[in-house]
Point group: D2
């Protein structure tokens, strides 16, 4: 932590801050410049994070030196983490993780049919929502536990791993029973009760970035999960909210290499939500893999016109298959494989 003092700061102001630091067991390093005096602190920075130093008299600016997260950082673990979703299905290694399926689970027959097709095209995880976070209380809210049951049944029949969203801390137990991986949606990225709850289970977690969360906040939310004991976290960039209206969100492609530098956790992209338009999904998926993402999660539906949720961003199985061919070429170009 570094503090820049105001031009008008007095010696008494400096002493007051130095004493506060001393009480917390930190040493200070005072540098008197021509225009400003600067105080550096030597010792564990986290002790200072609890203190609102910017309210101290004479303080102009407070500048943190260290990142506020620990377990998710590259400093904590330098090599890439590989997260196991199920036997033979992992994220973070050479092989990309491809999650595909409908936005919402609408019935067993429908899910079974999609599951077979996406698996045949190269997907290794089936996605599908049983609990749906919907902006409107009048929209379809998901099949609930019945949806979970269907997901598991299809998973067993087809032989594919599964991921599904959990929205309520009270549902973490039941979702864990049915699915291989739990998803925390963008709207719940800072639902700290939920983060703590999934931090205490033994299943991997797919943590989506909030639509207006900084990369730092996203990593802090992951830190909630890791610090509660669950290290199996996969990050998912799914587009941020900007002023642009042509697309539903703006997929932040820069975030891929940034997260790769800062953290050892796998990171994938969600081109369906990241664009909101099925006709952009293939281009943006290729971009994500080229930028270094460890995989994608994509919405596929056999009859988007009848989809109860997010039909306009869902690919037809045929288009998904076609895209998988293109992705395979790009993956190879960057030393990965599907």
């Amino acid at each position: 932590m570094i503090i820049v003092l105001k031009k008008t700061a007095t010696e008494a102001n400096i002493q007051h801050i130095a004493e506060k630091a001393l009480k917390l067991g930190l040493k200070t390093h005072i540098s008197r410049g021509v225009e400003r005096t600067v105080i550096g602190f030597i010792g564990p920075e986290d002790k200072l994070q609890m203190i609102p130093l910017d309210t101290f008299p004479g303080v102009e600016q407070v500048m943190p030196v260290l990142a506020p997260y620990k377990f998710v950082s590259r400093e904590f673990r330098t090599e890439d983490s590989i997260v196991k979703i199920r036997d033979g299905v992992t994220a973070g290694g050479k092989k990309l993780i491809i999650m595909a399926g409908p936005c919402a689970i609408e019935g067993e027959e429908m899910l079974l049919s999609i599951a077979k097709k996406v698996k045949a095209a190269g997907a290794n995880v089936l996605r599908g929502g049983a609990f749906k976070p919907r902006t409107s209380p009048y929209d379809f809210q998901g099949l609930g536990e019945e949806g979970l049951r269907i997901l598991k049944a299809v998973s067993q029949q087809v032989g594919i791993a599964t991921v599904t969203e959990v929205m309520d801390p009270r549902d973490v137990g039941i979702v864990s029973e049915y699915a291989d991986m739990l998803q925390i949606g963008a709207r719940n990225m800072q639902n700290f009760s939920l983060l703590k709850e999934v931090g205490m289970i033994k299943k991997p977690v797919l943590l989506k970035r909030g639509i207006s969360s900084t990369i730092r906040e996203w990593l802090m939310s992951a830190e909630y999960i890791l610090s509660n004991g669950n290290f199996d976290v996969i990050l998912c960039e799914r587009g941020i909210r900007t002023f642009e209206t042509e697309t539903r969100n703006t997929l932040d492609i820069n975030a891929i290499p940034v997260v790769k530098q800062k953290s050892h956790l796998p990171v994938i992209i969600d081109p369906s939500h990241g664009t909101g338009r099925w006709d952009l999904v293939a281009s943006v998926s290729k971009a994500g893999i080229a930028a270094g993402a460890d995989g994608i999660v994509v919405e596929v539906h056999e009859n988007p016109e009848e989809a109860v949720s997010d039909g306009s961003q869902s690919l037809l199985p045929k288009k998904f298959e076609l895209m998988m061919h293109e992705l395979a070429a790009v993956a190879k170009a960057v030393g990965r494989e599907v």
Copy 2:
């Protein structure tokens, strides 16, 4: 709902859409222009909201005509709603509602002292957090139920209404027992499990706008509460996330008159979070009242240097008192009173 077709749309495309509408019990109105054909639908629009019309062949654009909320709208109730928080304490009438207190409840003595001072200066609701949503798992997370007990004890001793945040649907019951009003924080504005839960209680709810939520989404979240039976909702503008870094958030002053047009619900501002800086709170509070807000919620702390949370945006009681004098003058200028 209006649909604009692509230049290349065929007669078969048009028929396909018309048939879909017919099945849903809607009539269509087809307008063939020089450049584009446009289809309007006559009948209840909400039936169409479930259909991803933009996936239908030939469709270029889908334009909803009606707002997606009902109970929160001015069309549903034309006069301003007055929300009762406690006997003699209401929001939405001529008298402004002034909520003040520390960010977090740190102890009984401290809360009692602040409560007396803010009441003396004109506050009619005491705020204070027992459950704190913190970006970092390593920050102070609140006193929990002990904090709630303190809040109630102080409330009874001083004779002031109370508001406190609830973050977990499992805590709605207990928070309702202790506090007069429940706050849904910005990070939980789209925590739909929580919204449904507070929609089923008999206490008023203070619903903060998410930092990157549109006014429409904010009203939709209120609709979750009203449609579950609880009409006692107060909206709170608390700043949105923009590119500007001088302030923690950008208080959206335009939102006050916009919400007043669209909804009958009371709306207040939170200048502490809306700016993130105590030295801007008075200016922005006056602006909010001048723009038509029904009140403010503001952080006050006797010793911001020692505050365990948000010290840098907390006013000293003396500054709060001073601000209340200024607010009284502005309130009078716009036909209100503190």
Copy 3:
């Protein structure tokens, strides 16, 4: 300037930076912490601003200590500047400056009629565009010099000061001949050729904030004008671009007190562009004055249906008059007058 080094930085990295600083005539202050080494520089910071310190080996972060502007800062001049627009018409003192008129000058008769009405209602500056920056090449581009001539003729007849936009450095001379004050529009806030040109004239300049400019960038653009010799600058907050779509822009009310702290220059708001809707103008104008703005610039048109530009954000003269009564009350409440 402060530099935070990477955990892996070597002694050689530190020496390399120290030598660079020495060559520039700066002393360094090295502080070796447990986690990181930090280097502070003592001497004129602007010498360092030209050096891309973040490219030096071992550097993790570069933190500027001082604001990059000089003449616009409160440190340069502590008391508020008062900008004279014409004899008896100033901005920055107790009396508010009220600029009103049509978006574009459409003809002499029309401008004369509006000028009389806005003056009668309390405006002291007539606004009106002769050169119009339009997003579309197919929109009305302004009357050009003929518009300027009309503006001056009306000004003389009615006895009111004038402000009009200049978009092209080649037009600065001619606009200066006709108008009392030159406006730099939001789209040209970083048109540096234009800024330098208006920095060399003897007329006051109204500098609008760019729709996505930070307060710092805005002040830097003002610095271009002051550093070229023209200290008569009035800043104008006119709304920034955010994700919200209910309003054309989001007027940044926080910017008023922030700018007042950082700079001695007068600052006004433009509620017409800041909201894009005439029905929000009065509320937001009152908010701006309550927050400490030195005035407003507002669009007024007698027949918005026929306006060639921005009709939907223009007030009718009657509404403007009404608003001026309300503004007078708010101004009085905050110790100002219209």
Copy 4:
């Protein structure tokens, strides 16, 4: 154009609008729904764009049906445009266009050395600024005409095409004499005087997207150039401003396929400004090409520590060469070549 009326709109309101349309030579199509009446207009929409229909009594919403641009649209030209920069150097075909060089031209020797290296690595256009748009008036402003002379000399010696920025309409003539292509920078995307000026020359124009410009506004700015007679425009996505602070800007990868759908013009990306960090340039360049971009423009400097501008986002020639190998693989994967 479609108009949605308020619930309270009267028959007289409808007639008033219909009459206005008739005067403009348009037919109206009135559709009376249960909740709202909707009016569609048949005839040339651009006539209506000049009319502020949202100010008409009874109007709730105005919805444009057609895009406001013509010459830049896919409807105007369905096949991809190929822009010729110099004999043998084109943008928009199978072969990617690679523009590389220093941010600013600092001297002949330096530019010559870089030019040789980037050409050897596969670049076909040399970039370098002679007129620099700088946020601060105290930063290096470019060598001006001397820089242009150097650029041309190096171009002839090395045999490479050139691009350089023009900021002032008065400089368009001289820049055209020296360079093969003129760049309009992000800050000048809506400098309409400048756009008109480059619309009247016979050289290709590289039009950067403004940091907070929508895709629609960007295409409208291109329309200014095309509608003035110059069809040789290359679009350049260079990052938009968002709330994220890890990167200088957020490169909008979605914009590539969106622009490809809407326009026939070539589109490239600028990963240097799009990220602001040299260590992200390679990842994001690969992403851009994978998404369908026609090329890149990238900053290369032999000694970033000594660069007078943007050193922290410049690649060393060695890194550029390395990246070109990676790009070649990705290009091949998507059917392109470097």
